[in-house]
C-alpha cells in the first residue's frame, strides 16, 4: 500500500472515530429535568376518569394495558381504579358508571360476559352482557361505602382472551366515574 493510501485510511479512521464519539455524546446527553413538571404533581383525585387520559393514570391501580397513543386501553379480566366520591356522596351515596366496550373479538370466542364490581368492601350486583358492543355499567353505591376521600373500585369480567404473548384481554373500559345520584351520564 502506498504512503498516500495509508494516510487516506488513517484520516478516514480518525474522522470516523471522532464522528462516532460526537454522535455518542449527543445520544447520551443528560436530560436536564428527568421528571415531568417542576416538582411533585399533587393534583387532587378525580371522580370521573377517562381511562386513556394521561393526567389520571395514577388512579388506574391495576389491570390496564398501555394506551400506546390510542384513546382507549385494553383491560385484564380484573382491573381496579381509585376515585374520589363526589360531594355529598357520604350522605346520599353515589352512582358508579363505567362506559366500556365488550369487544367483538372476545365475544366471538367467549360468548356472553358477566361483569361484577366491588366498591371498597361493598359487592355490587353483577350484570350479564350477551352481545358485543358499547355499554354503560351503572350501579348505586351506598353512602356508608363512600365516607372516605377516595375509594377503590374493582371490576371483574368472567371472560378474557389470553394472547400468544400471555396478555390477558377482557374489556375496553372508556370512562369510569362516581357521580351524584340524579346526575346521569350524558
Amino acid at each position: 500500500m502506498s504512503a498516500s493510501g495509508q494516510t487516506l485510511y488513517a484520516n478516514v479512521f480518525v474522522i470516523a472515530v471522532c464522528a462516532l464519539f460526537l454522535l455518542g455524546s449527543v445520544s447520551c446527553r443528560r436530560t436536564r429535568n428527568a421528571l415531568a413538571g417542576d416538582g411533585e404533581d399533587g393534583r387532587p383525585l378525580a371522580s370521573v376518569i377517562n381511562v386513556a387520559d394521561a393526567a389520571t393514570t395514577v388512579q388506574l391501580i391495576r389491570g390496564f394495558y398501555p394506551a400506546d397513543g390510542n384513546p382507549w386501553r385494553w383491560s385484564r379480566s380484573t382491573f381496579a381504579v381509585v376515585l374520589r366520591p363526589p360531594s355529598g356522596a357520604a350522605k346520599d351515596g353515589a352512582r358508579l358508571e363505567m362506559k366500556f366496550s365488550y369487544p367483538e373479538s372476545v365475544f366471538h370466542r367467549e360468548g356472553q360476559m358477566k361483569l361484577s364490581a366491588k366498591v371498597g368492601r361493598q359487592e355490587l350486583p353483577a350484570e350479564v352482557y350477551s352481545m358485543p358492543g358499547e355499554y354503560t355499567f351503572t350501579r348505586d353505591v351506598s353512602a356508608a361505602t363512600l365516607s372516605s376521600d377516595a375509594v377503590a373500585i374493582e371490576f371483574t369480567s368472567d371472560k378474557k382472551l389470553v394472547m400468544d404473548d400471555q396478555r390477558e384481554l377482557a374489556l375496553i373500559p372508556l370512562s369510569i366515574g362516581l357521580v351524584s345520584k340524579g346526575l346521569g351520564s350524558k
Partner: protein
C-alpha cells in the same frame, strides 16, 4: 477513491439502516456488568471482577468485564460511547470480512458484497443495539483478524511463514478467548482452510488446538454450571429443529411474520427459500468445478454455529453473527458470479438480492425502533430515579404504571442501584401482571402491601413515580390517597385462591386458577392480615383430588412466619376438606402474615409438565 469506497460502503450501509441502534440505551444484562465497577476496591477485587466465572459460567474478561469496567468508569450511564465502540469494532469486522472475501473468491466485488450482505442481516440487531452482546462483535474481530493473518501468511507459499502474520494470528486468536467461548472453534477453521483450501502442508496449525483444548478443559472441569436450564446443553432430538431455525434466520427474512403479522409468513418463507436454493445451486456448481472454497464458506457457518446448537432453550438471533460471515462470503460470490453469467442469471440474482435486502431493511427498521423505544423508556425512568434520589436521598421508590415491556427491559437486573436507589417497589398488584423470569428471582421483590406503601409515604420515607406516560411524574401526594383507598378496600382476612382478584395476595408456588380452584406445587405462600382478636383461627379449604392421593395419604403442614401452626394428613380422596388451626397470639393485629403450606409429595399427571401437590379454594382468618 475506489479503495476508500471498498472499505466505506458496508459501514455506510450499516449506519443507514442501523442508525437508531446508535441511540439505544442499556437494558437487562447490561446492569450487572455496569455495576461490576462498584465492586472493585482493591487489586484482588479487580482480578475477581475480571476472571471469576459469572452469568452462565463464562469468563469473557475482555468483551464483558474489562469493556464494562473501563467504559463505565469513563462514561458512567452514558450509552453513546458504548454504541460508538460497538459500531467501530463492527466496521473493522466488515473491513476484514471484505478483505477475506476478496482473498477467498479472488474478486474484490464479491468481497465488497460480502460486507454489504453481512451488515444487512437482522442478526446484527442485538449486537449493535445491546452492550451485553458486544462479545459477538469483538470475538468476530479476533477471529477475522487471526484468519486474515493466516491467509496472508500462507500467501508466502511453501516457505517459512512470515513471523509478523503468525504473531498477529496468535495474538488475535488468544485474545478471542477473552471475548467469547466460540474461539475454541478457530483451530478447526484454520486447519480446514490451510489443508483444504490453501492446500498448504503447514503442520504448525495443529499447535492452535492446544490453547483451545486447555480452554475447553478449564470450562468443562473447573467452572461450575449454573442451575438454570436456559444455558444447559441438550444433545437430543431438538437439534435439527434448532439448526433449521438458525439456518432460516441466516438465509433470509423468515421472521417477517413476527414483525408484520401472519400475512407475511408465506412471503418471508418464500424469500428465505429463494436465497437458500440459490446458494445451494451455487455451491453445487462450484463443487462441480472443483472450487473447495465454496464448501469452506459453508464450513465456517457450520463450525461456528455448532457450539450453540445444543442450547434449545436459548435460541437467539445474535448467535448467527459470526457464522453468518461464511454465508455472506458465499452470497457475495454467488451474486458477482451470477452478474457475470448472462442476462438471465443476472436478473435472478438481482431479484433474490433485492428481496433479501428489502425484507432485511424492513426487519432491521422494526427491530431498531423496538430496541430504541424499550431502552429509552428505561433510560427515562432511571434518570428520574437518579433525580428523585438526589432530591430525596435514601427514599424508597414506588413505581406506578409499570407495564410488561418496561419491566422486562431490565427490572430484574436491578438498574436502580446504579441510580442510587436501594429499595424499589411497584404498585401492588403489578407484580402478578408482569411476566418475570423465575431464575432471576421473579417479581416478588417488587411487591409491597398497600398499607405499607401508604405508611412509608405518609412518614416521608417513600416517593411515588408514575411511569405510565413517557416522562415520569412525581405523584407522591396523589398516590398516598390512592394507596389509602386500596388498603381500606382490601379483604385481607380472606383469600379465594381460585379468583384472579386475590392473586396479589398469593406468593410463589401456585399454578393458574382452574374452575374456581388452584393447584399448588410442593410448597406455596398465602398472605393474610393477622387476626383482629385472640382466638381467631385459620381455615384453609381445599379438595383432596384422587390423583393427589393415589400414592396414599398426603401429609400437609401450615406455618406462619416459619413457625409450625398445624399439620394434618389427607386420607380420603375425592373429598373437600377444611383445615382448622389456631393462630399464635403474637399474630394478632399484624398487618400481614405469610402463611406457607407444604405437602409431603407431588405428582406429575401424564402429559402435564407441572408437579402438583394439592388443590385449595379459600383461606380465611375468623
Amino acid at each position: 477513491m475506489k479503495r476508500a469506497a471498498y472499505f466505506l460502503a458496508a459501514p455506510a450501509l450499516c449506519i443507514a439502516i442501523y442508525w437508531r441502534a446508535f441511540f439505544a440505551w442499556f437494558t437487562n444484562d447490561d446492569f450487572p456488568w455496569l455495576a461490576l465497577r462498584s465492586q472493585i476496591h482493591s487489586l484482588h477485587d479487580f482480578a475477581l471482577a475480571l476472571f471469576s466465572p459469572q452469568a452462565q459460567g463464562t469468563v469473557r474478561f475482555l468483551s464483558e468485564r474489562l469493556y464494562f469496567i473501563v467504559m463505565y468508569s469513563l462514561f458512567g450511564l452514558y450509552a453513546g460511547p458504548f454504541r460508538a465502540a460497538a459500531f467501530l469494532v463492527w466496521f473493522a469486522d466488515l473491513a476484514l470480512a471484505s478483505l477475506i472475501g476478496t482473498k477467498l473468491t479472488r474478486s474484490r466485488a464479491a468481497g465488497l458484497w460480502a460486507g454489504l450482505l453481512w451488515t444487512s442481516s437482522y442478526a446484527l440487531l442485538t449486537p449493535l443495539s445491546w452492550a451485553s452482546a458486544f462479545n459477538q462483535l469483538l470475538c468476530a474481530l479476533c477471529l477475522l483478524t487471526a484468519f486474515y493473518a493466516r491467509i496472508r501468511s500462507l500467501e508466502s507459499g511453501t516457505g517459512p511463514r512470515p513471523v509478523r502474520w503468525s504473531v498477529l494470528e496468535w495474538t488475535a486468536y488468544l485474545l478471542g478467548f477473552g471475548a467469547l467461548e466460540l474461539t475454541v472453534m478457530y483451530p478447526l477453521i484454520a486447519t480446514l482452510y490451510t489443508w483444504g483450501v490453501a492446500k498448504h502442508k503447514d503442520r504448525s496449525v495443529i499447535a492452535l488446538f492446544v490453547p483451545a483444548a486447555i480452554f475447553a478443559g478449564i470450562h468443562a472441569l473447573l467452572i461450575p454450571r449454573g442451575e438454570s436450564d436456559i444455558y444447559r446443553a441438550h444433545v437430543d432430538s431438538r437439534l435439527p429443529a434448532t439448526f433449521l431455525t438458525y439456518l432460516k434466520w441466516t438465509l433470509g427474512p423468515s421472521p417477517l411474520e413476527d414483525i408484520f403479522g401472519p400475512q407475511w409468513h408465506v412471503r418471508g418463507l418464500a424469500a428465505t427459500w429463494m436465497v437458500g436454493l440459490a446458494l445451494a445451486a451455487f455451491l453445487l456448481w462450484k463443487l462441480r468445478t472443483g472450487e473447495s472454497t465454496a464448501l469452506f464458506c459453508v464450513a465456517w457457518f457450520l463450525v461456528f454455529l455448532a457450539p450453540v446448537l445444543p442450547l434449545p432453550n436459548h435460541i437467539s438471533d445474535y448467535y448467527v453473527t459470526i457464522p453468518l460471515a461464511g454465508m455472506a462470503w458465499l452470497g457475495g460470490w454467488a451474486l458477482v458470479s451470477a452478474w457475470r453469467s448472462g442476462v438471465f442469471a443476472r436478473a435472478v440474482a438481482v431479484i433474490i438480492a433485492a428481496s433479501f435486502l428489502a425484507a432485511s431493511f424492513a426487519e432491521v427498521d422494526a427491530g431498531t425502533r423496538y430496541f430504541l423505544r424499550r431502552s429509552s423508556r428505561l433510560r427515562q425512568l432511571i434518570r428520574a430515579v437518579e433525580q428523585t434520589e438526589a432530591r430525596h436521598p435514601g427514599s424508597v421508590l414506588i413505581l406506578h404504571g409499570v407495564d410488561n415491556e418496561l419491566f422486562q427491559a431490565g427490572f430484574q437486573d436491578n438498574p436502580f442501584r446504579l441510580a442510587g436507589a436501594q429499595r424499589v417497589y411497584m404498585t401492588p398488584g403489578t407484580e402478578v401482571e408482569v411476566i418475570a423470569r423465575q431464575d432471576l428471582g421473579g417479581s416478588e421483590r417488587f411487591r409491597i402491601a398497600p398499607q405499607d406503601a401508604a405508611e412509608l409515604i405518609e412518614s416521608g420515607q417513600a416517593r411515588a413515580l408514575d411511569v405510565s406516560n413517557g416522562v415520569p411524574r412525581d405523584v407522591t401526594k396523589s398516590y398516598l390517597a390512592v394507596m389509602e383507598a386500596v388498603a381500606a378496600g382490601e379483604h385481607r382476612s380472606f383469600v379465594d385462591v381460585g379468583l384472579a382478584r386475590y392473586a396479589s395476595l398469593l406468593g410463589p408456588g401456585w399454578y393458574d386458577a382452574e374452575n374456581g380452584y388452584r393447584w399448588m406445587g410442593r410448597a406455596s405462600i398465602v398472605r393474610l392480615a393477622g387476626p383482629e382478636a385472640a382466638g381467631e383461627r385459620l381455615y384453609a379449604a381445599g379438595y383432596a383430588a384422587p390423583s393427589a392421593l393415589a400414592s396414599g395419604p398426603l401429609p400437609i403442614e401450615l406455618r406462619v412466619g416459619g413457625a409450625l401452626i398445624g399439620s394434618s394428613i389427607l386420607r380420603k380422596p375425592d373429598e373437600h376438606f377444611v383445615l382448622d388451626f389456631a393462630l399464635p397470639v403474637e399474630t394478632v393485629g399484624k398487618k400481614e402474615l405469610e402463611i406457607s403450606v407444604t405437602v409431603g409429595r407431588t405428582f406429575r399427571p401424564p402429559g402435564d409438565p407441572r408437579d402438583l401437590g394439592i388443590v385449595f379454594g379459600t383461606f380465611e382468618i375468623r
